[in-house]
């Protein structure tokens, strides 16, 4: 386990690299303003945040987004397809797996040369993401009677929410909620 400041720095660094690619996905989804925010984040954090180790853009009110090719395909109207659990990568769907292949193909870290630096960077990123995931998966396991079903349903709900940027059309699941006047 790495000390917290180091962990945050590593997480911020990879988060900053990802912002370039998140902006591209926002553009593909027809959201140029969000794309602009992502690239402004990248510009600020790369320079003032010392190659992205500090995330000052968040403090300045430039919000971090969450986008990938799976969401872009979903935005274009592609259905999720069956739920699957991928080795090493965890919960996914047919659509999101194809998205992941595209994500990897366009990922700046995976395309980095020389190969030994690239491999070291990928290993470090996986370690950083695992540390964050551990906390979340402990919580899910604690909360559920059937972890497989709980993780599946949470994944599907989460992806649906992400595709609609947190405002999915209401399902008739819980209650009829009057629109909150947005």
């Amino acid at each position: 386990m790495l000390p917290t400041p180091v962990r945050n720095g590593v997480r911020n660094f990879f988060s900053n690299v990802a912002d370039l690619f998140i902006g591209a996905n926002n553009l593909l989804q027809g959201k140029p303003e969000e794309a602009l925010t992502d690239w402004m984040r990248f510009a600020f954090n790369t320079t003032f945040g010392v190659v992205g180790i500090a995330d000052w853009a968040t403090d300045m009110g430039l919000e971090k987004h969450n986008e990938d090719f799976g969401q872009t395909f979903g935005r274009w109207g592609v259905g999720s397809g069956p739920y699957i659990v991928l080795p090493f990568l965890g919960p996914s769907t047919a659509r999101d797996s194809v998205g992941t292949v595209f994500d990897m193909h366009f990922d700046p870290v995976s395309n980095h040369d020389p190969v030994d630096e690239r491999n070291a960077a990928i290993a470090l990123r996986i370690t950083s993401q695992r540390a964050d995931l551990l906390e979340a998966s402990r919580l899910l396991e604690q909360a559920s009677l059937d972890p497989y079903l709980f993780v599946r349903d949470a994944y599907l709900q989460r992806r649906r929410s992400l595709i609609y940027d947190g405002r999915p059309p209401r399902e008739p699941l819980s209650r009829a909620n009057p629109p909150a006047g947005e």
């Binding site: 968040t58 403090d59 604690q142 709980f150 949470a154 999915p168 819980s174 909150a180």
Partner: protein, 213 residues
């Protein structure tokens, strides 16, 4: 040290009781209520070394005293169980609600402990004064990751606003239990579901014994 924590917890319990008893709690707007309760609980967590070092009993006690009175657990249980709820007897409903409540409080306590060091952004409420069912939005801002959204589905009752669902990062806690609950009810009935919840809660409370995290 210990005594000051006991005093803090007792104070919280008193404050919660006072809020419940007084008319002030009934008149508080839902977004104001969420803000008050969240800030108060977070500030207690921040000033309590025991909770920070993983004393689960203490944080569960804090949640029970401070947060629990503002939730409608009967409604949450009914929604999570779905169709099977109508066939349950009043006694089964009571026992099921009690077990589900215990499980949710534990989960909520862990989540809150994990996020207590972060910055909270309380969103303005978009609702008319006549609305009796609203969504209160809170976001947790953290560097390097997308903010975590927490939406509270809240309903106006005779004893003030009560939350009937918590949606974390787009995942409705209550809706997420639907599939597993209905599977168990189909196979083992309502009593089977109650037994499963009891077993889960017992195994969780064993891992909370002092000396363990």
């Amino acid at each position: 040290m210990l005594r000051s924590i006991e005093r803090a917890v007792a104070g919280v319990a008193l404050a919660a009781a006072a809020t419940l008893a007084g008319a002030a709690g009934v008149d508080t707007s839902p977004d104001e209520l969420v803000k008050q309760v969240t800030l108060e609980v977070v500030s207690i967590i921040k000033s309590d070394k025991d909770i920070q070092s993983g004393d689960r009993k203490k944080i569960v006690g804090l949640i029970e005293a401070k947060v629990l009175p503002h939730f409608d657990f009967t409604s949450m249980s009914a929604t999570a169980v779905g169709l099977g709820w109508r066939k349950a007897t009043p006694d089964q409903k009571l026992r099921l609600t009690e077990e589900f409540k215990t499980l949710l409080v534990r989960t909520y306590a862990s989540a809150l402990a994990a996020y207590s060091q972060q910055r909270f952004d309380f969103r303005p409420l978009h609702a008319r004064p006549s609305d009796t069912d609203v969504t209160v939005q809170v976001r947790i801002i953290q560097p390097g990751t997308q903010p975590v959204s927490i939406d509270y589905g809240m309903e106006k009752t005779a004893s003030g606003w009560k939350a009937y669902d918590v949606v974390v990062g787009g995942v409705s806690l209550v809706a997420n239990y639907r599939t597993e609950f209905s599977n168990i009810v189909r196979a083992e009935g309502i009593d089977g579901l109650i037994r499963n919840l009891q077993a889960k809660n017992e195994s969780l409370s064993q891992s909370e014994e002092p000396g363990k995290k």
